[in-house]
Amino acid sequence: MLRTLQITLVAVTAGMILGTILAVCRLSRSRVLSTVAGLYVTCFRSVPLVMVLLWFYLLVPDLVKRIVGNPSLDIRLLSAFVAFSLFEASYYAEIIRAGIQSVSKGQVSAGLALGMTGGETMRLIILPQAFRRMIPLLLTQAIILFQDTSLVYVMGLADFFGVAYNTGDRDGTLVELILFSGAVYLVICFVASTLVRKMQKKIA
């Protein structure tokens, strides 16, 4: 379970930070920045998560090993962190972009009219309002990610589900353990989404 939470936490944090940067780039007036960010988001959103994970399992460690020159280096966990973060960033970018756009343009004008720079206006005026509106969506995305972490088995890493599967396989109680781990995911996600729904009501 620890590893599952670990990956979720890292990917949510890194994904949100990178996603915010991407969203701001995408909305920026610079044609280059918005095109690059748009391309990134479109690419990652059009590819299955498993495939991204496999790339990072098969290609990236190989490259890194060649560059570093240490063939026995085990960076599977690190690759998993990076892969999930990059993938999540593209989803968060879209949520955050919509959030930023939901704040009225007049607020931007008001910030600028007070002499704040574009960056200050974004950071102090727009993003705080945008994030407040986006909290439910961001948490929902985190719940989805929490479930998706079970896909790390393709990288030969054992998360909660992986351990349950292997234990079941060893002891001949595969069905029971798969059902058990399913129940654990169910309980956690149910509790989390109930909380999100309550929050949504409070905000709305």
Binding site: G106, G111, L112, A113, T117, L124
Partner: protein, 246 residues
């Protein structure tokens, strides 16, 4: 203080501002009126660079607004602006709305900006509401906070973009009272409004715009007694007869 010379602006093919020229000197109150879509809001937003323009020149206190080398943020910090829809920051308290730019832009100490904010809230009659959030205030109160927020930057001039158009009739007066006091205290003001009562009371000059052009730009007595163009006369008779009924 504000000088606008032959300013033209296009939105695509649409010619919003046509060769607009006028001048606002220090301590002067200029009211800009005209039918909706005549470009008056656009013109006032050009003055602090919230809208760009393609031709002409606007000089505010010696700095050219259209010039890429001008530090627009710095210029804006010295020109207050009040919006039609108030645009208070809803996630910040009234107090924070008044202090955030003082601290961030003018680098004032928190204690100094709080003091300044309280003083201005007292001026607009809202000292008791300092810790509330904008959503807890009426429209008229919000607009008064917005005026105080702009004043907190010690502006050399104030721009008002239809400050009472989004307000209920009974709240218009409380906002206009604040503006009248401000005008009488010698603030340089450029005000887009349909409130002809305000224009009569404190304006030095009235500018009438139609279809992106400045049609009239005259001292207020001339404007009200004998508008020089039929268009302005029609406009005046329409809004004045309407306000007489109301």
């Amino acid at each position: 203080m504000i000088s606008i010379k032959n300013v033209s602006k296009w939105y695509g093919d649409f010619h919003v501002l046509k060769e607009c020229s006028t001048e606002v000197t220090k301590g002067e109150v200029v009211v800009v009126c005209g039918p909706s879509g005549s470009g008056k809001s656009t013109l006032i937003k050009c003055v602090n660079g919230l809208e760009s323009f393609q031709k002409g020149e606007i000089i505010v206190d010696g700095a050219s607004v259209g010039d890429k080398k001008t530090n627009l943020s710095k210029l804006r910090s010295r020109v207050g602006m009040v919006f039609q829809h108030f645009e208070l920051f809803p996630h910040l308290s009234v107090m924070q709305n008044l202090t955030i730019a003082q601290c961030r832009v003018l680098k004032r100490a928190p204690s100094e900006s709080t003091e300044k904010a309280l003083k201005l809230l007292e001026v607009v009659g809202l000292k008791a509401h300092a810790q509330k959030f904008p959503a807890q205030l009426s429209g008229g109160q919000q607009q008064r906070v917005a005026i105080a927020r702009a004043l907190a930057m010690d502006p050399i001039a104030m721009l008002f973009d239809e400050p009472t158009s989004a307000l209920d009739p009974e709240m218009i007066k409380e906002v206009l009272d604040v503006m009248v006091n401000l005008a009488q205290a010698g603030m340089t003001m450029m005000v887009v409004t349909h409130e002809m009562g305000f224009a009569r009371e404190v304006a030095n000059r009235v500018i009438f715009m139609d279809h992106g052009q400045i049609v009239e730009d005259r001292p207020k007595t001339d404007f009200f007694c004998a508008p020089g163009t039929d268009r302005a006369q029609q406009f005046l008779s329409k809004i004045l007869s309407h306000s007489a009924q109301g």
